[in-house]
């Protein structure tokens, strides 16, 4: 009885650990999904961008010519709306071509832009002055602008799953933009809550983008860490302001099913060989931070630990069962002397082992559930950061960096044009259980019992009753 208890407990420990680690790994995957969801948005499987040719754009210009003598001392203000993160434009016809691909459920184009506003005062001019001073006092502010296609409200940065507050406002915006109507001549914009707070904007306010005045329909909140813009305008307006007629710089694509993503990726690559095609998996590979560390731990160390413990439990069960059979030699010899066939005795041993497995499985499930509960209760909040997007590469590039320009303080990162730091999302790790995990655990325990029983039964079957009965205990 004691050895049976030890076998059951050993199996329970192994099974409990497998359940806990599997649940934790599942929780990490869920957390990763949350991260990807917040960064990527449900409904978007693939994004397509195209990197600008390095050096092809010429030097960055504010559009301000060096001052002549008459302009010295005059204030200036310049706005420039450019494609973000080193992305170049993509013809709108490519969006149509992608949406016509097999296995593509939908595709929509957008413009992700940086608006740079420079104000200052001309002094002696840029470059060296007669006194040797080269500084022209100016200040820079930036904000991000997304030009969103109002014909596809379910896809892209303003899809419903990205909005945490202002869903009806977004819906209204889509309807009004699609109808092409507005109460004033100014195009309509939506503003993120963080930017609205910063610049004291609200419904009815106006903002200037590249010299054009845009009216704010309302303020919305987006999921934490989403690659959110500060301002959302209709795609047509963004194209007009940038001069990118019938062009986009980001295409959002949805596949028919998750199993088609890889196929669609290949098809798009074939269609657009120079494009950068990013899937959720690619994004997942960029995720760093404590969540990434937890994922590595759960997937590698945790999994191998669970497998090792389970194997140890199986071996222990087999050894103990065989040892128990050895101790019960006289008992089995007596049964054979009474006319019991070997197969009946083997069946007895197997039956006992399966019961041990069931008991071990039940205990293991209890232990595993407790373990998963403890993981959910005491696990720290994890942080995930999407890796930096270097200049010239496509993909997600919004973030904050630091660049101090001129005498003023930069409110928005001028560095977004060149490089961006990662987006961070915090998630609470859970360890969700599923019926499949529990059923697998019970199956493992029964398998362990069966293996032990088969080995023990084989030993019992080989017993010669005469030998067994001669043995002195």
């Amino acid at each position: 009885m004691r050895s049976a208890s030890v076998v059951a407990i050993g199996l329970a420990l192994g099974v409990g650990l497998v359940i806990t680690v599997t649940a934790a790994a599942s929780g990490v995957k869920t957390a990763q999904g949350q991260v990807l969801h917040s960064l990527y948005g449900v409904g978007t499987d693939i994004t397509v961008t195209k990197a600008a040719t390095p050096g092809g754009g010429g030097p960055f210009r504010f559009g301000a010519a060096p001052p002549t003598g008459s302009e010295a001392g005059q204030a200036f203000s310049r706005d420039r709306l450019t494609s973000t993160g080193g992305l170049t434009t993509i013809p709108g016809t490519d969006v149509t071509a992608i949406s016509n691909l097999r296995d593509v459920a939908g595709a929509t184009g957008a413009l992700t832009l940086n608006s740079i506003h420079v104000t200052g005062t001309f002094s002696g001019g840029f470059g060296a002055s007669s006194s040797g001073s080269s500084s022209t006092p100016f200040s820079i502010s930036t904000f991000t602008v997304d030009g969103v296609n109002a014909d596809d409200p379910g896809l892209g940065p303003l899809s419903a799953s990205n909005i945490t507050s202002g869903t009806s406002l977004v819906r209204e915006w889509f309807e009004r933009v699609a109808k092409g109507s507005s109460s004033t001549d100014s195009p309509l914009a939506l503003v993120s809550s963080s930017y609205a707070k910063q610049d004291s904007l609200k419904a009815g306010s106006t903002v200037t983008i590249a010299g054009s005045t845009v009216k704010v329909l309302g303020v919305i909140s987006l999921t934490q860490g989403a690659a959110a813009a500060d301002i959302y305008v209709p795609l047509s307006e963004a194209q007009k302001l940038t001069g990118y007629t019938a062009k986009v710089n980001t295409i959002y694509v949805t596949a028919d099913s998750s199993s088609d993503i890889s196929k669609v990726q290949t098809e798009i690559q074939h269609l657009m060989p120079k494009a950068t095609i990013t899937t959720a998996q690619d994004l997942a590979n960029q995720v760093s931070g404590s969540l990434s560390t937890a994922a590595t731990l759960a997937n590698s160390l945790g999994l191998w630990l669970a497998v090792a413990v389970l194997l140890a439990a199986f071996v222990l069960a087999a050894l103990l069962t065989t040892a128990a059979v050895n101790r019960r030699v006289r008992e089995f010899g007596t049964l054979k002397a009474m006319g019991w066939h070997s197969r009946r005795i083997v069946g007895q041993v197997l039956g006992e082992s399966v019961v041990q497995g069931l008991v071990g499985g039940a205990l293991g499930v209890a232990l595993g559930v407790l373990g998963a509960f403890l993981v959910t209760r005491i696990a720290p909040t994890l942080k995930a950061t999407v890796g930096a997007t270097p200049f010239g590469a496509g993909g997600f590039g919004r973030g904050t960096g630091g660049f101090g320009g001129g005498s003023g303080s930069a409110r928005r990162s001028f560095a977004r044009t060149f490089a961006s730091a990662g987006h961070s999302v915090t998630v609470h790790l859970t360890a969700p259980l599923s019926l499949e995990i529990l059923a697998l655990a019970v199956a493992l325990a029964i398998a362990g019992g069966l293996i032990a029983g088969i080995l023990g039964g084989w030993r019992a079957a080989r017993l010669r009753p005469a030998e067994a009965l001669r043995r002195v205990e």
């Binding site: 008992e331 007596t334 054979k336 019991w340 009946r344």
Partner: protein
């Protein structure tokens, strides 16, 4: 019932071998009570194992009811044991996790009779040995004598043709020993089966009309006429003597 002709049993031991029995000739008739005596390690238990089809002779033949036990495959021997032989061991060999009644029932499992009949017969067998009121007790809750009674009930419950007992009183005190021997003799009389009892105890040995004496693997027979229990019918004076 039994006819042993020139039976030898040799065991390999390391590089050599051990001859446990050599050239044994023996006839045991239906209903006969035979005891077997001899020094330890001289072949008594080996003889019992051969009679119980738990061993096969190295040479010679062991014929039981016209069947050469040495020639039968194990699968047939299992059935022969199940129907014909009841064993009683020195250490009782009860299953510790089964009650007294369940231990007795275990002997009936190979006979494939119904659960109800098994239970009924096991209770009757326990009643025969005076333990009907202990049917639900585990071996650990029984004294040595009571455990041996359960073992005897287990041997008897299938109504075997032969009871084979290996030192059934070896672990018992003198008083209990006498009780068990008396019980076994009583049951032998009542049921009429053959009984072969291996024993060191001369008092026990002389309870039988004949004693087989084994010395260094060779068997001789001794008649215990004066103190023997008379069987019904008498076994007669016929006996085979064999020496190695």
């Amino acid at each position: 019932m039994y006819e042993l002709k020139n039976v030898s049993r040799v065991y390999p031991k390391g590089r050599g071998k051990v001859t446990a029995l050599k050239g044994v000739n023996l006839v045991i008739r239906d209903g006969e009570f035979l005891t077997v005596q001899g020094p330890t390690g001289h072949g008594k238990t080996t003889l019992l194992l051969l009679l119980g089809a738990l061993e096969k002779p190295t040479s010679g033949s062991v014929v039981f009811d016209g069947q050469d036990l040495g020639a039968l495959p194990e699968s047939r021997l299992v059935d022969v044991r199940a129907r014909n032989f009841g064993f009683v061991f020195q250490n009782y060999n009860l299953m510790p996790t089964l009650t007294a009644a369940e231990n007795v029932e275990a002997a009936l499992v190979p006979l494939r009779i119904s659960t109800a009949e098994r239970r009924s017969r096991s209770l009757a067998a326990l009643d025969d040995v005076g333990l009907a009121d202990r049917a639900g007790h585990f071996p650990s809750e029984l004294s040595g004598g009571e455990q041996q009674r359960v073992a005897i009930a287990r041997a008897l419950v299938k109504e075997p043709k032969v009871i084979l007992a290996d030192e059934p009183t070896g672990n018992l005190d003198e008083v209990t020993r006498a009780e068990i021997v008396a019980l076994m003799v009583k049951l032998w009389r009542e049921h009429g089966m053959s009984m072969v009892v291996v024993t060191h105890d001369t008092q026990v040995a002389r309870q039988a009309p004949r004693t087989a004496l084994i010395n260094k693997g060779a068997l001789t027979l001794r008649n215990n006429v004066r103190k023997a229990v008379q069987t019904q019918p008498s076994p007669g004076a016929a006996s085979e003597v064999g020496e190695g």
